[in-house]
């Protein structure tokens, strides 16, 4: 137990270090961007009317002061970390003066609620089917699933998204193709809203599920194919252990360890990896928020999204690290 606590402490320090360096790198990269948010705002406003040059100069000075971007980089860096500690990343510039964290918290539930759930669901189904296909190699249904999975797996998820858009939005228009819920329902715990959220989630979720299912299926099938030739599986079979027990307890469980690691990585990457899906379906999550922030040079918002993403990736890996010794009997903590 003491060894395990030491192990947790070491990993926790690593976690904090990774977050610090990752977020600091994001800060520096963001501030190297050539896009000037003040000029972006001025272009948006003056592009709409005939402002005199003097008025534009006044506006530039006012916005520079308002956005607080005239500080030197080192000062911004210190203030940035000071604000992170109190979970305040300053105002978003594209939604000034709304705090960037407010925008992130507004988008986060959509990304996590739909997309993370879709990934976890895909992981479970893909691994179970893949595990069974690896063990019952002559089963025709599972062979058929394998062929479909091999066909889907190399297709990028955004291509699948566009295909779904065309099929269910154009050819057979039965599903909503835009937004998080319909225009005529009230958000809250009511069935019209819940039903609307679910129906709007189907296509973006399906675009991830179809491709993800194939990836997890093929990976698990390959792992299980190797494991079933291991001595302990052969021994269990010779000993007359029930086949279901062998599959569930000996084969899939052992094969799931690397898949669990991969799941953690995928969950972390989902914050940026599903940008195009969210763009295609105008899904109100972090991906589309990130795109808008990058295009407008909105440092605060980009950093808020990046901080969440980096923390999520590092946190997921941290949790998996902690789970490994528990889940895998072959791993011991020295």
């Amino acid at each position: 137990m003491q060894n395990y606590l030491l192990f947790v402490t070491k990993r926790a320090v690593q976690l904090l270090a990774v977050i610090f360096f990752g977020v600091s790198a994001a800060f520096l990269i963001t501030h190297l961007s050539p896009i000037n948010p003040v000029e972006q705002a001025i272009n948006r406003i003056t592009g709409r009317s005939n402002f005199s040059p003097e008025a534009v100069a006044d506006m530039r000075a006012a916005l520079t002061a308002l956005y607080g971007i005239e500080e030197p980089l080192w000062s911004k860096f210190i203030n940035f970390w000071r604000r992170i500690v109190v979970l305040d990343l300053g105002p978003s510039l594209i939604a000034f003066p709304t705090p960037a964290t407010t925008l992130v918290m507004r988008a986060l539930p959509w990304t996590v609620g739909l997309l993370a759930t879709a990934v976890v669901f895909t992981w479970l189904i893909g691994n179970i089917l893949g595990g069974l296909a690896g063990y019952y190699q002559n089963n025709r249904v599972l062979k058929g699933v394998g062929i479909v999975a091999m066909g889907l797996q190399p297709i990028p998820y955004y291509i699948v998204a566009f295909i779904l858009l065309i099929v269910f939005g154009f050819v057979w228009p039965v599903l909503p193709i835009s937004g998080g819920f319909a225009m005529n329902v009230r958000p809250g715990w009511n069935w019209p809203f819940i039903g609307s959220v679910l129906s709007h989630a189907i296509l973006p979720a399906l675009s991830l599920v179809l491709v993800g299912l194939g990836t997890w299926f093929l990976g698990m099938r390959a792992l299980v194919s190797n494991i079933i030739s291991e001595d302990y599986v052969t021994y269990a079979e010779l000993a007359g252990v029930n086949k279901r027990t062998i599959v569930a307890s000996y084969v899939i469980r052992n094969a799931a360890v690397p898949q669990l690691t991969a799941l953690a990585m995928t969950l972390g990457a989902i914050f940026s990896g599903t940008v195009i899906t969210e763009e295609v379906f105008s899904y109100p999550g972090l991906g589309s928020l990130l795109i808008a922030a990058v295009n407008a040079g909105d440092y605060a918002l980009v950093l808020a999204v990046a901080t969440v993403a980096i923390t999520a990736v590092a946190g997921a890996i941290f949790i998996v690290d902690l789970l490994h010794p528990i889940l895998d009997p072959r791993i011991t903590v020295e």
Binding site: P34, N36, Q40, A41, N43, R44, I45, T46, R48, S49, N50, F51, S52, P53, E54, A55, V56, A57, D58, M59, R60, A62, L63, A65, L66, I94, A95, F96, T98, L103, M105, R106, P109, W110, V112, G113, L114, V120, G169, F170, I177, S178, G179, G180, M183, N184, R186, P187, G188, W189, F193, V197, A248, S249, E279, V280, F281, S282, A292, G297
Partner: protein, 633 residues
């Protein structure tokens, strides 16, 4: 096994918990409709996309939220509107004002008579005191959109009575009224009774907005993808009532998404107006949806915007100082190839520095055609007539095999849609001009008089027709022996403002559209505003061109009334100067593929009935609502 069950149970609970916040979104400002009657609703694409700060309606503060959500089209108002096309009853609309601005002789004072009987949407009467508050509040509050304009120009503003406002200006300005004249935006009047109690106006969200327009906010998506507006019961107590009752009971502005989704949404009856498409998207929608149509009934469908994509030279770069060089670069370009590459032939070409839109074809383009045809250019070796009045007829011939009867055959119609003409590609003349400027050939490459290769960069945006245009321009120049490096810059607007480019594809000409006066962009071209190299250039004239004759024209515009016929003469003088000096190479109008569906509504503006700009993010588009009729579906 027990571990796995526990893990699965935990994952399930976690997933449920993660999903919970989705249901805890902020509620919209008003109760939503349970059943929006589609046949009483107009649905428009908001080109701003998803609004990241959806509950923000303080339009007087920069970067606060969406504008083209219906906020400035349906809810705001100011003194005058000027349409980029012909207007319902003339190009200028007296909105909150009863007539044009009244100036004193030296343009240091401006008086505006206001329309009585206009009410804010919460029932309070609109008066001159709202105007005074609007001006004083912004002049006193740095950071508001019009703070600079008012603090720099207004000495005093007073309400002479409830319906008369008097401005005293800090300096003579014959165009101060344009601050309150909507071309697609202007200084909107603030409701004094709302804002006078607000302590910090810069952080006030103005939700729900109280406005002077004929619609009020009904509800909106807390995620920013749609806004529903409902017609006011007392719509006849707004200034717009003079032009008729708006037909739709509800107007929805929504994020249309990428081109493919916009097409699908219109085909499925979920969008009535698309702000803009790619050329390919336009050609596709008219094939897929028989109710969809563009500005022109046939090819090229698009509405020419009052902006003018051009090749812009940085005149603070010594390579572009010589007029011979600029003209040589113009004559290296192949107008047909440029049209096909950028717009697939659906371009409206312009040889002069005035966009071919609104009333400009009759004001400028057609009257200039004879002068352009006879315009002679001395190359130093020969005298040529570079203008080709039939170039656009050739473009129509090129696209006719593919688009058949959709392409007009009458030359007048072709010129209206494709432009009057353009410069013919003349490599020999370009060679003579460069030689005259002291350039020499080395193989296929041009060498400058200082012995260095004639090489420079062309900055273009990352995508869109302007990107395609720039690519073809660079290709033409490269083929003619000029070493051009194409720079695709995501921050091209910033680079442009700072003058950090050699040449650039964008527009520095942007006119009123429906009116021949050029002050909208031209005043900022005066040499007094040209910044030093490396410093940010305020407001257009991004080419940083200075010319005494240009200054003379601008200075005369400044002391000439907006509707004085002399403005057209001054405009023609500007056009001729631009042709002779070629400081930028005007190429074409920025054609906007605005699409309108006649499934639920008819009566949209068109090239045959050009009463309004069809681009639905313009505030002028409010007047379209008075002309619509239900289609009966």
């Amino acid at each position: 096994m027990r571990n796995w069950k526990a893990f699965l149970a935990s994952a399930g609970v976690a997933a449920a918990l993660l999903g919970t916040p989705v249901l805890a979104q902020d509620e919209p400002a008003a109760p939503p409709l349970q059943d929006i009657p589609r046949d009483q609703t107009l649905i428009l694409q908001n080109p701003e996309g998803t609004i990241r700060n959806p509950g923000w309606f303080n339009i007087w503060v920069p970067a606060g939220g969406g504008w083209t959500t219906g906020l400035h089209q349906l809810s705001m108002d100011t003194f005058w509107y000027i349409d980029p096309n012909e207007g319902i009853d003339g190009v200028t609309y007296n909105s909150l004002a009863t007539g044009p601005a009244i100036y004193n002789d030296d343009y240091t004072e401006m008086t505006v008579e206001l329309r009585p009987g206009v009410y804010w949407s919460d029932g309070v009467e609109f008066t001159a005191h709202d105007v005074v508050f609007t001006v004083e509040k912004q002049a006193d509050t740095p950071g508001m959109n019009w703070s600079g304009v008012f603090s720099q120009q207004v000495e005093t503003v007073e309400a002479v009575d409830d319906y008369t406002v008097h401005f005293t200006l800090q300096a003579p300005n014959s165009r101060f009224d344009s601050v309150f004249k909507v071309r697609w935006n202007a200084a909107w009047i603030m409701p004094k009774h709302i804002f006078e109690d607000v302590e910090d106006v810069l952080s006030f969200d103005n939700n729900p907005p109280v406005g002077l327009g004929p619609y009020t906010l009904h509800s909106y998506d807390p995620n920013g993808s749609w806004y529903i507006w409902e017609k006011r019961e007392d719509w006849d107590r707004t200034a717009m009532a003079e032009f008729g009752e708006p037909a739709p009971q509800y107007v929805i502005y929504r994020d249309g998404g990428p081109t493919d989704r916009r097409l699908i949404e219109m085909r499925n009856g979920n969008l009535d107006m698309i702000h803009d498409l790619t050329p390919e998207g336009m050609f596709s929608i008219v094939q897929q949806d028989e109710t969809a149509r563009g500005w022109f009934e046939g090819f090229p469908y698009a509405h020419p915007d009052p902006t003018l994509p051009s090749v812009i030279f940085n005149h603070q770069n010594e390579k572009f100082q010589d007029r011979n060089v600029r003209w040589a670069l113009a004559l290296m370009l192949d107008g047909r190839a440029i049209s096909m590459a950028s717009y697939r032939g659906a371009a409206t070409m312009s040889a002069i520095a005035i966009p071919p839109t609104g009333t400009h074809p009759t004001d400028y383009h057609i009257p200039m055609n004879e002068w352009l045809t006879e315009f002679e250019l001395d190359t130093g070796t020969s005298v040529i007539r570079p203008y080709d009045p039939d170039l656009t007829l050739g473009i129509a011939d090129m696209v006719r095999p593919q688009y058949g009867d959709a392409v007009p055959s009458d030359p007048a119609e072709i010129r209206a849609a494709f432009g009057q003409g353009w410069w013919r590609q003349d490599i020999d003349a370009a060679t003579e001009l460069l030689t005259n400027a002291g350039f020499t050939r080395q193989g296929n490459n041009w060498i400058m008089p200082n012995g260095e290769p004639f090489a420079f960069s062309l900055m273009i945006p990352g995508d869109g027709v302007i990107n395609r245009l720039g690519t073809m321009v660079a290709q033409n120049w490269t083929q003619a022996g000029v070493a051009v490096d194409v720079v695709v810059a995501s921050d091209h607007a910033d680079q442009r403002n700072a003058g950090n480019y050699d040449s650039y594809i964008w527009w520095s000409v942007e006119t009123w559209g429906g009116h021949p006066d050029l002050s909208y962009f031209l005043d900022s071209w005066h040499s007094q505003y040209v910044a030093d190299p490396g410093e940010i250039q305020p407001a257009r004239n991004w080419q940083r061109w200075q010319h005494p004759e240009l200054d003379r024209i601008i200075e005369e515009v400044r002391v000439t009334g907006f509707d004085d016929p002399r403005n057209l003469e001054l405009g023609l003088e500007f056009v001729r100067l631009m042709v002779e000096e070629m400081p930028i190479i005007p190429v074409m109008s920025y054609n906007v593929f605005a699409v309108m569906s006649e499934r639920y509504w008819t009566g949209y503006p068109s090239a045959d009935n050009p009463y309004a700009n069809p681009v639905n993010n313009w505030s002028n588009s409010r007047y379209i609502l008075t002309q619509l009729e239900r289609a009966g579906n």
